[in-house]
Symmetry: C2
Subunit: 393 residues, 2 copies
């Protein structure tokens, strides 16, 4: 399968202020985006791809601008030999000619999320009221706000309807929110390694990652821009936590076991990495902190822990929340994913079935944990293609 080629990230300023769930309004919102494949004259072949916590608009192809560190997570960043850091999109294996989201057929649109740090308005953007970066004055945003931003963006492009909305993890939450909030605009929802509401252990991991940032004195109450100091230490720790939750214990056993890093024996050090896994974690943290903004991490982490379809749309009932869904729904989960475990997808499936809505659900037996959604592309592609083509043929 080939690539979509070289791609340039584009930018669009929303024509209207954006009203947020928290009650505040963002007067100016810029959206960074990329598109792959041709838009049909009827504008009816659009697939919106939604990224996860650390992704960006660059989902497929090679970046036209200077290569940055890959936004792929975990093993996915490593195992794609030699491509990480060379500007390949984070879902390149899924988007392109003949791939799951087939650019010979679909016009795939990918935006950087509201609150992001890769071109879309977020805490590191300039506040028009002051000219300085928002920092922690940026309003607290939700998945609903992200989806409203995407809708306003698509409206500005003249796209009224989505053949599909798709994403993994936080991206899957957006796909679900789209299907519930704008049922008349979504034909298909592809929800991968995601959930209708994160379980309390997942809430805890996210809280710990945020605490690591908040407790770093360099965070400076959120106003670290331009001070020469960033909370890289704290965000690095938070990233380490996230990283381990994205992988399975078995994957770590297979990849690292208890191998020592530098020598045949221990060197008696508390400050230096000693086991390979310890060195790997430091490397992952350092490469992440070079490319990511700590406030964006805080805001997106908060948004994904808030997300709760039953609370937001169903008065506590998932079934009631899903009543409005008109889209066909595809749910993919992975047997070893303990952060977004298959049980969440089964709950969504059960609720949709109870409502008589069209839903297809697959648990893929794979060992890498949550990162499977970026790694197990070969097994997802035929399922997604079959689901989409069946629906549009």
């Amino acid at each position: 399968m080939t690539s979509v080629g070289t791609v340039e990230t584009q930018y669009l300023d929303l024509p209207q202020p954006l009203k947020l769930e928290c009650g505040r309004t963002l007067d100016r919102v810029r959206v960074a985006y990329e598109t792959y494949g041709a838009l049909s004259p009827a504008r009816d072949n659009v697939i919106l791809v939604c990224h996860a916590l650390s992704g960006d608009a660059h989902a497929a192809g090679r970046s036209a601008t200077a290569p940055e560190a890959s936004t792929r997570d975990g093993f996915a960043a490593d195992d794609r030999d030699g491509t990480a850091g060379k500007g390949l999109g984070w879902w390149d294996g899924m988007i392109g000619p003949g791939k799951a989201f087939d650019t010979d057929r679909y016009h795939v649109v990918s935006t950087n999320l509201l609150g992001g740090c890769r071109g879309t308005t977020g805490p590191s953007s300039a506040d028009p009221a002051t000219g300085r970066p928002y920092g922690s004055d940026f309003p607290v945003i939700t998945v609903t706000d992200m989806v409203r931003t995407q809708r306003a963006f698509l409206d500005a492009l003249g796209i009224e309807r989505l053949a599909a909305v798709a994403g993994g993890s936080l991206g899957g939450m957006q796909a679900l929110e789209w299907a519930v909030r704008y049922p008349d605009r979504v034909d298909n929802a592809v929800v991968i390694a995601s959930t209708h509401a994160l379980h309390p252990q997942g809430i805890a991991w996210n809280a710990i990652a945020r605490e690591a940032i908040l407790r770093d004195p360099a965070w400076q109450g959120g106003h670290y821009y331009g001070t020469g100091r960033t909370p890289a230490g704290g965000m690095g720790v938070g990233r380490m936590v996230g990283h381990i939750t994205y992988l399975s214990a078995q994957a770590l056993e297979d990849k690292f076991a208890r191998r020592l890093q530098y020598a045949d024996d221990i060197r008696y050090t508390v400050t230096e990495p000693e086991f390979e896994i310890e060195n790997y974690l430091r490397h992952q943290a350092d490469s992440f902190t070079r490319r990511f903004d700590a406030n964006t991490y805080l805001y997106l982490s908060r948004a994904l822990t808030y997300f709760d379809l039953a609370r937001q749309h169903g008065g506590g009932s998932l079934v009631r929340a899903l009543e409005r869904v008109a889209a066909r729904t595809l749910l993919l989960s992975f047997s070893s994913d303990w952060l977004y475990p298959p049980v969440a997808s089964r709950e969504i499936e059960a609720a949709l079935r109870l409502l008589g809505k069209p839903v297809e659900s697959h648990v893929i037996d794979a060992p890498y944990g949550h990162d499977c959604f970026l790694l197990e592309e070969a097994r997802q592609i035929p399922i997604v293609r079959h689901f989409l083509h069946e629906g549009t043929s």
Copy 2:
């Protein structure tokens, strides 16, 4: 069952310098300890109890000195109605008249570990060479060093032989090390919720907790004593990580679910706790940092990740490592413990059986994760009593 009553922590200075595995020597080592039950004239009824990462010598009864925050972990600190913070020992449910370690029969000895911060020499102790606290000049210690310290301490008390050595988690590692290193001195080893070598995910969690401390600028290279600043922020984050790994996802679901802390709805905040679990984590971190030394955390965490019976005693083979064991071994593990999972106990059991050594192993089906070893006392007591009495009757 009754208590051992009020207990005073005592102190003993080792008569000889302590040679460490790393090659360095500690000239002066003080050991904090408590004892419960009478020593038999033949000095043959001694049970040494070994504590885990955050414990201390005060294992049973009520402290004679001012009550400090409990050293019990996690839910164990909460669920014992009203006893936490009132000076009750961390294993009071297991040690006392008629309990698992029956003080009507045994003389139970509990020491604070080498490297500790509760009376035994550790990084916060004064370095005799400078008069100032060691800080990060304290030598890197291992489980072997802890056990050697305990042996030197028992020698000084005139105790040559242990009816049993017992501990959970890091304490279980010490029990195993005792059985392997001093086979002619141990009659029974009681190893609870422990392992012969932590798996790589466990190494990772410990590495992350240490990173959180090391990256806190208040750590100051380990020499924060007397500066008015301590790395409480980083250690708090580390403690949060530890805390979640001690519990099971199901336990968090049962106890917290997704309940909000202060209101019926979200308040749109990235800095304040919003879910009950978030508030609980902050509370746990804050109470821990008030009572524990960050350098001790670093050193004990490092020691427990180093521990590897097969590497240290068997040239990579667990069976070879266990060849010297003469003690009867009791292994207890808990079905929901994912930090020290039952599989580790099964591996030890299999190796001992292969060698024809007497071993008894139980996996207790319980939902609370690693913390079960402090919570499920009622189910451990009959097993431990039967094991010990069968052996001594």
